[in-house]
């Protein structure tokens, strides 16, 4: 689709929209977490793509199928093993993948990820970045918002629906908030974070899993992007929640209030 304006041929944003989907490799949601040596035990434990990131990838792939997006780029920040997550994204339908590789054991926090993403975005200029609303390992829920702040782009977080308007130059995003549903409008380029009900991610088909290995996967380092990934927050301690103890039956409301105040110490 071309719009001829004088001597300039302009391609409508619909045809050229590139969507970036950052994805994270996390401990699988079904695993029983254990704390060993002051850290969450991740050795020999099943890992998979963060469920909210799967939803983000699915949304981006659907945009491509609807021909709203031209390209879906999956990106991850992590050690060598993180590549598995990129493969999953490619198998779901992403066109190419970028691995920002960090050393094994290196701690990576949301602000540093956001800085890496900003550097990548400034280079590659995608029109839309869709992230999962939070990662299920740290539940930080910050990366999308930090990225929007760093780029000074509009953000539509906790999206349960994304629609396009104005020849794909604007998005209308329905957000799930405490009070109900809110719809915001933002011009592209923009940041969206995906919430649970945005979509139901597909299973990768066998043909797509096999095609995935032919898709381009680029490796870069934080140094290539000029970003310092030193963590800015110190984790002081990590512990398991207290073991469940039996409940107690009380005879009256007064007794309940007394126990809540003097035994449980919660009021």
């Amino acid at each position: 689709m071309y719009a001829r304006r004088g001597f300039v041929l302009a391609v409508s944003s619909e045809m050229s929209l590139r969507v970036l989907v950052p994805v994270k490799r996390v401990v699988d949601y079904a695993v029983k977490i254990r704390v060993v040596g002051g850290k969450v035990d991740t050795a020999n434990v099943k890992h998979s793509m963060n469920p909210f990131d799967e939803i983000a990838v699915e949304e981006a792939v659907r945009l491509k199928e609807k021909k709203t997006a031209a390209e879906v780029i999956a990106l991850t920040v992590g050690p060598a093993k993180s590549q598995e997550t990129l493969r999953t994204a490619l198998a779901m339908g992403a066109d190419n993948a970028v691995h920002i590789e960090v050393p094994e054991g290196q701690e990576i926090q949301p602000l540093q990820v956001a800085k890496l993403l900003r550097a990548y975005v400034e280079k590659e200029k995608p029109g839309l970045v869709i992230l999962g609303k939070q990662a299920i390992d740290d539940d930080a829920g910050q990366t999308g918002q930090l990225l929007a702040g760093l780029l000074n782009w509009p953000q539509a977080t906790f999206a349960s629906k994304i629609e396009f308007a104005d020849a794909a130059k604007k998005i209308l995003v329905t957000r799930e908030i405490d009070g109900g549903l809110e719809t915001v409008e933002a011009p592209l380029p923009a940041i969206v974070t995906a919430d649970l009900r945005l979509n139901e991610p597909r299973y990768a088909t066998l043909p797509n899993i096999m095609k995935a290995k032919k898709k381009p996967l680029t490796k870069i380092t934080p140094a290539d992007l000029g970003v310092d990934i030193t963590p800015s927050i110190d984790v002081l301690s990590v512990s398991e929640p207290p073991k469940r103890v039996g409940g107690k039956k009380v005879e009256s409301v007064d007794e309940l209030v007394d126990k809540l105040k003097n035994e449980a110490g919660v009021i």
Binding site: N44, R87, T205, L206, M210
Partner: protein, 382 residues
């Protein structure tokens, strides 16, 4: 529950196989496992779930492009079988019938059938066994006499998975003289006059698949439905069984894997004499034996699958060995898992008993484990 690294079924797999395994397990957990009990008790034939499996590519793993290696297909079926052994095994039998058409039939037949069979839009059944010819398959009696443009089929097949419901029947029948060399393979479509079915069999397991006798009474089939050449049918059937044996073994692995995981969880939770069952050495010994047996079986199945992929001359014997090992050992694992559950293991509320019942038949079909010994010995004594 995280499986210990010693029984990590992802060990040594390529990136692609890992992806297949992870996808198949996610599918099994969500689309099969929650329903396997209900399907077994109600004898439900879960066409929707089977179609979903086919849409993901499991309807014709060796036939529809891009073709999956036998090894990776085995990895996929193993993962699917943790959700429902019976349903997964059924799609592997369908795959076997599809493979025969794809490998040996002319383009006309292939174009007519494969696209529909790959999507499970149409279902295929493999018809070899007869009331009078099980292990002695080479002496099957269903006859196909040429009369003008048609073969007239007379006889019956027994224990046919999908019989009565399937749309396409890949039938081994006698066009020539006695013995294996007189057997040909003919495709018969449901609805052909003279094709009828026996009653639905009541089985100990594999209850999510209908099993019936397939009966031919002066059933006229166009000669153009001959697969390959006359006299090649037995060879086709045997070659198809090599793949079938790998796949049914993979289903055994999945069932045993799930049964073992359930047993580990139960023995950690169930307390007697003041401690979890798993604190007892005898229980630990039992679990260790089960895991060792499972890992040995899995390695054999995957290795045999690689032999088949590499078209090594002895691949058939490898497949027989893997099938003998895996189906026997995995049934024992599931059976032991029941014992480890105590009384609860005997209740249909618990899945272990279904894994045991479903796996029992793997020791019998696709060549009894006694025939497997003959296949192996023949190779050894060459």
């Amino acid at each position: 529950m995280a499986m210990a690294s010693v029984n990590n079924w992802s060990e040594g797999l390529s990136d692609e196989a890992l992806e297949i395994q992870s996808m198949a397990k996610a599918f099994a957990d969500k689309e099969l496992a929650p329903y396997m009990t209900e399907w077994d008790i109600n004898e439900t034939y879960p066409l929707d779930a089977l179609r979903k499996m086919a849409q993901l590519g499991f309807g014709a793993t060796s036939s529809a492009a891009p073709v999956l290696s036998r090894h990776d297909a085995a990895v996929g079926f193993e993962a699917l079988a943790t959700g429902c052994v019976s349903t997964t095994a059924f799609i592997t039998v369908h795959n076997m019938a599809v493979w025969i058409i794809d490998t040996f039939a002319n383009d006309t037949l292939r174009e007519r059938y494969i696209p529909h069979l790959a999507t499970f839009d149409k279902v295929a059944s493999y018809c070899l066994t007869e009331p009078g010819a099980g292990s002695d398959a080479g002496n099957l009696a269903t006859s196909a006499v040429k009369k003008g443009d048609h073969y007239i089929l007379n006889g019956s097949k027994a224990f046919i998975s999908g019989g009565g419901d399937s749309d396409v029947y890949v039938v081994m029948c006698r066009t020539g003289g006695p013995g294996p060399k007189g057997i040909s393979c003919i495709v018969v479509e449901k609805g052909t006059p003279g094709l009828s079915f026996g009653k639905k069999e009541k089985k100990v397991g594999w209850n999510s698949q209908p099993t019936r006798a397939v009966i031919f009474e002066d059933c006229a089939v166009p000669v153009t439905n001959l697969v390959g050449k006359e006299g090649q049918g037995f060879s086709m059937a045997m070659q198809a069984l090599n793949g079938g044996r790998i796949n049914v073994s993979a289903c055994s692995l999945g069932g045993a894997h799930a049964a073992l995981e359930a047993a580990i969880e139960h023995t950690n939770i169930r307390k007697q004499f003041g401690k979890p069952l798993a604190d007892n050495q005898s229980i630990q010994f039992k679990l260790a034996e089960m895991a060792t047996s499972l890992v040995a079986s899995r390695l054999m199945v995957r290795y045999a699958a690689k032999q088949l992929d590499g078209k090594t001359p002895a691949a058939g014997a490898w497949a027989a060995m893997a099938k003998l090992q895996a189906t026997d050992k995995c049934f024992e694992i599931a059976n032991e898992a029941i014992q480890l559950h105590g009384g609860y293991g005997y209740l249909k509320d618990y899945k272990v008993q279904q894994y045991m019942r479903d796996l029992r038949v793997h020791q019998i079909l696709e060549g009894t484990n006694q025939i497997m010994r003959l296949v192996i010995a023949r190779e050894m004594l060459k």
